[in-house]
Symmetry: C2
Subunit: 222 residues, 2 copies
DNA sequence: AATCAATAAAGAAATTTTTCTTTAAAAGAA
DNA sequence: TTCTTTTAAAGAAAAATTTCTTTATTGATT
């Protein structure tokens, strides 16, 4: 008993790993643009990305781009379709909570605007920060979150606070009716099944690296 | 043809997703410490973390912590074993390249020292930054990377530069003999199979959120 | 024109990961 | 004590994901 809450995954006709690979493909493809080549083949992409070429083919098939035998895929078409698929032309609004270095980095991350994410306000408890702007994004006190949210509802709440505060912030913004939480804090967030939670955990990445460095061998301690 | 380079995965006796879940467990378990409870059960963890409880049991079995029927797992023991497993007491050294907001955030991220990661120097091209310190971490010009590396070899190179520079930086540090690259830039990095590459891609996280927000339905454009 | 080589595409197979099922143990209640 | 309930643990089954295999197409070469 105590099963995982039945996730939206069931709706999904395409694998989550595939979705996560698309931005990678996109970045690679964009680095190709401007060069003379109009086409790129799956084996070519495979070479630099260290992904099996048939997997790339399969991934592309999900977004209905046909490749040409012996030639490959039309780069522009691929870029267009992936961007469409990822909803780059379907912008979502977000608030960000926690205006430390990471929060600031995310606000300044200038790709978001092209990727269909608009961070329209920031929140913090630090009164020094309240009232300032990061680029053009205004920083408010966290206590005004609900008010701001009601004025301008957003779909996504980005949490970049220290771990200890992450859950409290999450509870607050869930109560306001946020649809999705993008959690950059180290601690997992407890949320009802109706709320989408995506963790971008730095620590998970580190765990993986250290594991690979030790080549999957269990560490021996004295 | 053009298969994925045979990965170290084969060594791995335990699933990559399991490894990535450990830091999550750890964070949750630590939030429990200080409270009166000595034990925690898998179903309890499952409830907050939205992970199937048998999966948690299975994950824990990999690191040889025995639970007690009807009671659960000893919190302290779990914490200890996970930390051991993740190599928290087996520190690795790192250089970080790109001292923007993200780079600064990572240097300031004070959990790394407990997690067995020591960022011992930073590098940038910006002469304004060269010579300064972020907390106690000295910032050098990227052209001095090789020299510094030879003086103090590190296992991990953390790339937090803009996408365009990521590959050039990667090539440079691979040539120096870095073992692992932790890539925070949006663009994938091409590296020989001997080099460990871990991507912590912000864009992948966004892709996933937007997909879930659209409930797995393909976006329709006019 | 015929042959060769490279590639997409579709489907099958294999692998990996998750979920389900069963069993046994043990705490607490009756 | 006996019964009930909760839980870990192990193994089986299912599901998801990746990799392999085959086929067909097409551009290039002879």
């Amino acid at each position: 008993m105590n099963k995982t809450i039945p996730s939206r995954k069931k709706h999904s006709v395409l694998p989550a790993p595939t979705i996560r690979r698309f931005p990678l493909y996109l970045s690679f493809l964009k680095s190709l643009k401007g060069k003379e080549n109009v086409y790129v083949s799956a084996p070519d992409i495979a070479k630099t990305l260290r992904i099996d070429s048939t997997q790339i083919t399969k991934d592309f098939s999900f977004i209905k781009v046909a490749g040409k035998t012996k030639v490959g895929y039309e780069i522009n078409k691929l870029v267009q379709n992936i961007e469409k698929f990822l909803g780059y032309r379907d912008p979502k609004k977000a608030f960000i909570i926690g205006i430390g270095n990471l929060g600031t980095a995310l606000i300044k991350y200038n790709q978001f605007s092209q990727e269909g994410l608009e961070i329209i306000a920031g929140f913090d408890i630090d009164t020094e920060k309240v009232g300032t702007r990061v680029i053009s994004t205004k920083i408010y006190h966290i206590k005004n979150f609900k008010k701001r949210f009601n004025e301008t509802p957003v779909e996504i709440g980005i949490i970049t606070t220290p771990s200890e505060q992450a859950q409290i912030i999450a509870d607050t913004i869930i109560e306001c009716g946020i649809k999705a939480i993008w959690n950059f804090s180290a601690s997992p967030i407890s949320a009802p099944g109706t709320v989408i939670v995506e963790n971008t955990s730095i620590d998970s990445g580190l765990a993986m690296i250290k594991w690979k460095l030790n080549a999957g061998r269990p560490l021996i301690y004295k």
